[in-house]
């Protein structure tokens, strides 16, 4: 009985560790992909709707065209991984809402494909998934340069700048508070010294005591 119990517990522990160890790489890839999706959509949302037609140079794609190209690329790469036809369909208009939806759907397609990957088959597909990640990251970086060219930042970067300001403010506030504290203490000590000196003078023979410690 006892032996059976030990074997059962042992198997349970082994199963737990096996389950925990499964799909770790797939989960990591999915996490990276989700993070890239958020960062890309953050860039897309930071650009005002009327600036989607902005292009840095005459021969460069507009911001909207760049994102559409990105969506096309993501769909094509993940279609190659799954062996299916790319779901990409070029929109008729390139408005901000349409483009953001297109990019979001492409990332969802990528996320679905990554989620369905099996650890065993990853050796064959790893290079393709990593290439899709690298390409998407490069597109996102390129899109962000469009924002910078327009002196705009993403919501996350604005948040970081706010914290940077808080950091500088806190550092200087602490030093300034200490300087104020030192000045106040200096004044108190000088007053105290004068009082004690006066007390001693008054205690000398022939003088009345009118100062207390």
């Amino acid at each position: 009985m006892k032996r059976r119990f030990v074997i059962a517990v042992g198997m349970l522990i082994a199963l737990t560790f096996t389950a925990a160890g499964q799909n770790t790489e797939v989960q990591d890839l999915a996490k990276q992909w989700a993070s890239l999706r958020d960062a890309t959509l953050s860039v897309a949302k930071a650009m005002p709707d009327d600036k989607y037609s902005f292009r840095p140079g005459a021969n460069d794609p507009s911001f909207a065209e760049l994102l559409v190209k990105m969506a096309d690329n993501i769909d094509a790469q993940f279609a190659e991984i799954t062996g299916q036809k790319s779901p990409f369909a070029r929109p008729e208009t390139l408005g901000a809402e349409t483009v953001q939806k297109l990019v979001s759907e492409s990332f969802d397609y990528g996320a679905k494909t990554i989620g369905e990957l099996k650890e065993a088959g990853l050796d064959r597909l790893r290079a393709k998934v990593l290439r899709a990640l690298a390409d998407a990251a490069a597109y996102r970086g390129q899109a962000e340069t469009y924002l910078k060219a327009k002196d705009m930042v993403t919501a996350e970067e604005a948040d970081r700048r706010k914290f940077l300001f808080y950091g500088f403010l806190a550092a200087w506030l602490l030093v300034c508070l200490y300087v104020v504290a030192i000045s106040l203490r200096e004044r108190r000590l000088r007053g105290e010294l004068d009082r004690v000196k006066r007390l001693i003078e008054n205690r000398e023979p022939g003088k009345s005591e009118n100062v207390s410690l």
Binding site: L164, G167, A170, A171, L174, V179, I182
Partner: protein, 228 residues
Amino acid sequence: MRQKVILLFAVVAAGLLAWDLYKIAYVMPDEVQQVPFYKIMYFHVPSGILSLSGFFVAMLASIGYLWRKDLRYDAVAVAVTEVSLVFATVLLVTGSIWARVAWLTWWNWEPRLTSMLICWILYAGYLMLRRAIDEPHQRARLSGVLSIFAFVDVIIVWKSIEWWQQNLHPRPVLKVRGGSGMSPGMEAPMWWNLLALALIATILMMLRFRQENVKREIESLRRYAHAM
């Protein structure tokens, strides 16, 4: 003479800081991952260097007192400790703000942060202990022993990023600590800022040292007045 030195240090520190702040805000490029946020390091790192080296000086001054029984050493120890504690506070606060952005949490109980917090508590305790004891030599003796004891934690803070490999805190970056160094042109403002903050710290220590002497003078005059 002392006033002139303080004034000179203040002018140099103000000039250096103004130039440095301009460089940090407008000239330094953004970092790839943290964009402009890494710039908080220009205050975080110098504050760390100043506070830890200040605690080292305080320990030396405490040893000096215990050896010579001269209260001037004790005055140096308390002045340096108090100013170092201010910079240790700057270190913890700026570090916490950095953690909020980089790790998405204000605090993490990892070795570097935990040992630094313990360090802060130990030296705050040092200042509280001093307030609790009236007799100058007894105060200097006990706080001196605490200062030497507390310095063990400073060593742990210093070496923690090497001893614990799984630290969340970044491993040494600066070349002087065996790191790979910062990109060209990014490290120099750090050292200039350190110099400016060191001058400010020196001014504060000189003022605090003078206050400690005035305090001693008041105490001896009080004893004299009581004896009259």
